[in-house]
Amino acid sequence: MTAPSPRHAALLLALLGVLWCALIVAPPFLASAGLDAGAAMVRFLFAPVCHQIPERSFHILGSPLPVCARCAGIYGGALLAFILAAAGVRARAAIRGTASFLAAAAVPSLATWILAGAGLISDAAVVRAVAGAVLGAAVGACLVPALEALCAEIALHRSSPRALLNRPAGPSQSLTTGG
């Protein structure tokens, strides 16, 4: 089995993202096809990572998604970032200053959470999803260069996997350093 090359890292993430998002939208369709047990299993799978309150979730075919609107936005945003990265579009800010980039991307989610909690803005699912999508896209944009560097390390140390854990970082990992 060969490791994915750094060039294919974004594509791999995009494929995994598509699979993850397909799982998220699957339960309503499974239920409408009469596969209730399958739908319940997928909901059960997402239970540890989301509160799954139907009132705070998007509905398809009259059935709620297994994650809330904010989580759906986060995963959707990450998927968008993976697809854009696979198409060659990169967020330079994500590479140069990861911490500040992520902190800035978290502001909309925090703001909507606080302001909606105080009753100052609408608590609509769309608002929460869009705010979550900004954070998800930022996380996705940071994950792409990280996975590329990881793939480069794996390719470099394919003959001796233990060296992957023991060697100091090489120039292939300089994508996110020095920012």
């Binding site: 059935s63 996975l147 350093t177």
Partner: protein, 186 residues
């Protein structure tokens, strides 16, 4: 001798801390936000690795640390959750039945599934949940480890030596002090 940061200690420490927090009532609900506590475990592992290492850590090391911390967090979370349930005098079977009833009311297709879950029994469902958590927590822990490495590792990377250059007989890259190529200034 350059320190490389102890992968096992860092992973165990962060896995224990965030696994414990995940099992604490109300605090554990933070995992409802995309497994944020487990992401935190991965990020903390990378932070500890970076702080404990004299050389830039690899993404592989950060990912492995995050994965390990996620795996450690699962049993710690389950034990903590069970301990709190016992301490607070809760009836586990009653809570289990109540959770199934609530789920059955939430989703249109859940009535039949609720019966299946009830037939499985609480212990089997707990084991299945633990298995699912192992999968999910390892994914989110790894993501946290990669993000943590990207956030905290600010040192300029050194070039990887060519085979036989700078490596002592026992293996392991010793850096410029070991006779390797100079540090890449970029």
């Amino acid at each position: 001798m350059q320190r490389r940061g102890n992968l096992l200690t860092s992973s165990l420490a962060s896995g224990f801390i965030f696994g414990f927090l995940s099992g604490v009532p109300f605090v554990g609900a933070l995992n409802c936000a995309c497994c944020s506590l487990i992401l935190g475990a991965g990020v903390l592992t990378s932070y500890l690795l970076v702080k404990g290492s004299d050389v830039p850590i690899t993404f592989g090391r950060a990912a492995a640390g995050g994965l390990l911390s996620g795996l450690v967090a699962v049993p710690v979370m389950l034990v903590t959750w069970l301990a709190f349930s016992v301490i607070m005098g809760g009836d586990l079977q009653a809570e289990f039945d109540q959770a199934i009833d609530q789920a059955a009311q939430m989703y249109p297709e859940a009535q039949q599934a609720a019966q299946i879950v009830r037939d499985f029994g609480m212990v089997l469902i707990l084991l299945i949940t633990a298995g699912m958590c192992f999968i999910l927590y390892s994914i989110f822990g790894t993501v946290g480890g990669l993000l943590g490495r990207a956030i905290f590792e600010r040192r300029t990377a050194q070039p990887v030596p060519a085979p036989g250059v700078g490596a002592p007989p026992g293996g392991g890259w010793q850096g410029p002090e070991g006779g390797g190529p100079p540090v890449n200034p970029s």
